[in-house]
């Protein structure tokens, strides 16, 4: 949890923040050298130098960590962009598939209508010379029934 919070804070700090902290530490370190020239402030030379060095070390260390976080965030963003593109492509492919199927089904149904009309037109001729035996109809119906669902 602690690591997550640190990562979150690092991800939201500006890029220049940690180099600025390191620079401030370095500046403090050298200011300590100037302070030593003033007798009143000479006492603070080493404490200021130590604090400056620590701030510098912290700044450089955190700059390295922020770099890793930035790389990781860039990778996550790139992956998310790919996923977003995939969602759009998937929907588009589905729409195209449904559209093509609709057109193909229209062709199939249209052809059936034409055949049905021909049967109606030729019904007199077809039925004139042939009567279908009930056994033939029973066999045909049995063949049409799905044996998996038949009880």
């Amino acid at each position: 949890m602690f690591e997550f919070i640190i990562q979150h804070i690092l991800a939201h700090l500006p890029v220049w923040f940690w180099p600025a902290v390191a620079g401030a530490g370095l500046l403090l370190y050298f200011v300590a050298g100037v302070v030593a020239h003033f007798p009143v402030l000479k006492l603070y030379k080493w404490p200021v130098k130590i604090v400056g060095a620590l701030v510098f070390v912290l700044g450089i260390f955190m700059f390295g960590g922020a770099g890793v976080t930035a790389i990781w965030q860039a990778q996550v963003d790139a992956a998310q962009a790919k996923v977003d593109a995939a969602v759009v492509a998937s929907k588009s492919a589905n729409d195209k598939l449904a559209q093509v199927r609709k057109q193909k089904n229209q062709v199939i149904v249209k052809r059936q209508v034409v055949i049905q009309e021909r049967i109606v037109k030729d019904a007199a001729k077809i039925d004139a010379t042939c009567k279908v035996a009930p056994e033939a109809i029973k066999d045909l119906n049995d063949a049409a029934a799905n044996p998996e669902t038949k009880k």
Binding site: F61, F63, G64, R101, V132
Partner: protein
Amino acid sequence: MKYLVPVLLLAGCSSFKAPPVTVAPPWPDVPPSMMESCPDLKTVDTNTDKLSDVLTVVTDNYTQYYLCAGKMDDWNNWYNTQKKIYEKAVK
């Protein structure tokens, strides 16, 4: 002393590891028409002896077959297309 900065930078880099984050595309939707089951084949009225009635039912069933075969083709197309999209996204 001159190695201090690179060493500190590398120490910082190695201390911050990327958290495990999974970014994957969601399961793709299927067009609703593909989810419909194929209807049962029609049967001929047993009280008829007309060949034209038999022909009507048989041609109806042919049509049902082609409509259902179309769904099967759609499933194949859907799978191949979505697989390509998925593989491109996670590559």
